[in-house]
Symmetry: C2
Subunit: 319 residues, 2 copies
Amino acid sequence: MIAAWIEDGSASLRRVSRPRRKPGHALIRLLCGGICNTDIELLRGYYGFHGVPGHEFVGEVVEADDSRWLGKRVVGEINLACGVCGWCRRGLGRHCPRRTVLGIVKHRGAFAELLTLPEANLREVPKEVATDHAVFTEPIAAACEILEQVRIPRGAPVAVLGDGKLGLLVAQVLTCHGAAVTVYGRHREKLRIAARAGADTRIVNKLPRAAYEYVVDATGSAEGLMSAAAMTRPRGTLILKSTVHGTVALDAARVIVDEITLVGSRCGPFEPALKLLRGGRILLDEMISAEYPLRDAPSAFGRAQERGALKVLLRGETR
Amino acid sequence: MIAAWIEDGSASLRRVSRPRRKPGHALIRLLCGGICNTDIELLRGYYGFHGVPGHEFVGEVVEADDSRWLGKRVVGEINLACGVCGWCRRGLGRHCPRRTVLGIVKHRGAFAELLTLPEANLREVPKEVATDHAVFTEPIAAACEILEQVRIPRGAPVAVLGDGKLGLLVAQVLTCHGAAVTVYGRHREKLRIAARAGADTRIVNKLPRAAYEYVVDATGSAEGLMSAAAMTRPRGTLILKSTVHGTVALDAARVIVDEITLVGSRCGPFEPALKLLRGGRILLDEMISAEYPLRDAPSAFGRAQERGALKVLLRGETR
């Protein structure tokens, strides 16, 4: 079968062996994949990754232990947890120290004709949700994670710094939650999406200082994190939503004197994300920059790295 | 009258004018002052401070608008807040943007024969609390602030990193709260105080990784903060208790991937501190390294900077 392949800083297409399905796992045919910033970081050499990438996907189950999964259209939680440790027992398999991660850590990714995942990780896609929308489940879940970690009152002003894919989803999820969101970004056309979803928007030039009780950094950059900290009020909460690599310079005295809380935030729960998708409350069509067949994955990766690109999708091969 | 004076990196004694009492303020005769690490940082040039330092004190009220204060032995909240802004109305004058701070920001400090503070800042010292103990009210309040910000369950394991003055008080306050505290430090004789107060102690050599859900950094150093972050478990909380100056290198990816919460923590409420003092539950005699009369403040500052020193007290001049 064919699969996208990342190695030594370039994306290619390869023939790879059909995956073997372990007991308790499902074999899934890719319908649609989404290229995430993490995939681009893998391509650029973070984590020393090489292999098949891809963790945002919608697929159709073709083999499973439990026959009720067969033929179902599914999305899947990307962390493969051990299921028995303290983290797993507390429902936090996303932090299981023995976890592997689909397309990121020691589990072959979704950008292939077929993938495998434990059946326990699967969620059926509601029939009213289009495949091109369902492929956003994982990043919407990551945005929903903020609300699992921080109690943001309805009506509370929240600043979202960054108008990339994750920033726009965070802005939409928090707007749906009832927060008064302002998105600070550099791209008028991206901010327009946030505005249509009900958020206030500002082109970044001079950022307000100590102005928000809740700030979400979705810039993915070390400088963005510093700016976000400067925007946070005393006793406020800064949510670190996009992964920043390496060591970051932090104004510790500011954080301490103003008693700011910083909250690292990563993957989230799929259920609230699917609920939002079912309600049709997240604007997604405008967030899709391009769609390529799986066999054109190298071009898709090229497109995803272009300035201004939002989500680039990979369409599964038709049989 | 005489006062300690800090300027250009040295501590001296000066004759200064008797302070003028503003309406609503009390004039207070110093009974006892405590030298804090912040005072030593002021001496070393942080904040560009020059003037009379001192914010940990016990005094006797000699003049006040409200005559009920006269003759009372008092401690005082160090932040002089405007009293009318949103922060002040929410009971968080400690974050009032127009605040001055006793002996730190634009309000003459307590290491003088006489000082002034708003009557609203004063708390009477319960008669069963010795003056040498009451002088710890402010740093004990700073330790209590942790419990205002973070819900630490009774019985929860907590690591306190640092066995200096603040680390030992934090360890004692959290032990009184019912947490299972382990103090990591470099000084056997200081750790012995924590042990006598009921905490577990460890000489720092190899620190455990990702081992504690609650970690308090009381090292006052940038490296200490990094070590404390490494000791924090996924989804755990790291409380930044001692001020670290300048920008600090933080492993942002670790904080984000492991969803760690960092909480900056500064001044705290006096009431729980006075309650702990009244209960006699904090071991303080062993935390006093030396006591000098106010007129020997320069020697006291010298002693406070010696390796291994804990609290150095200044005794007010007797009339």
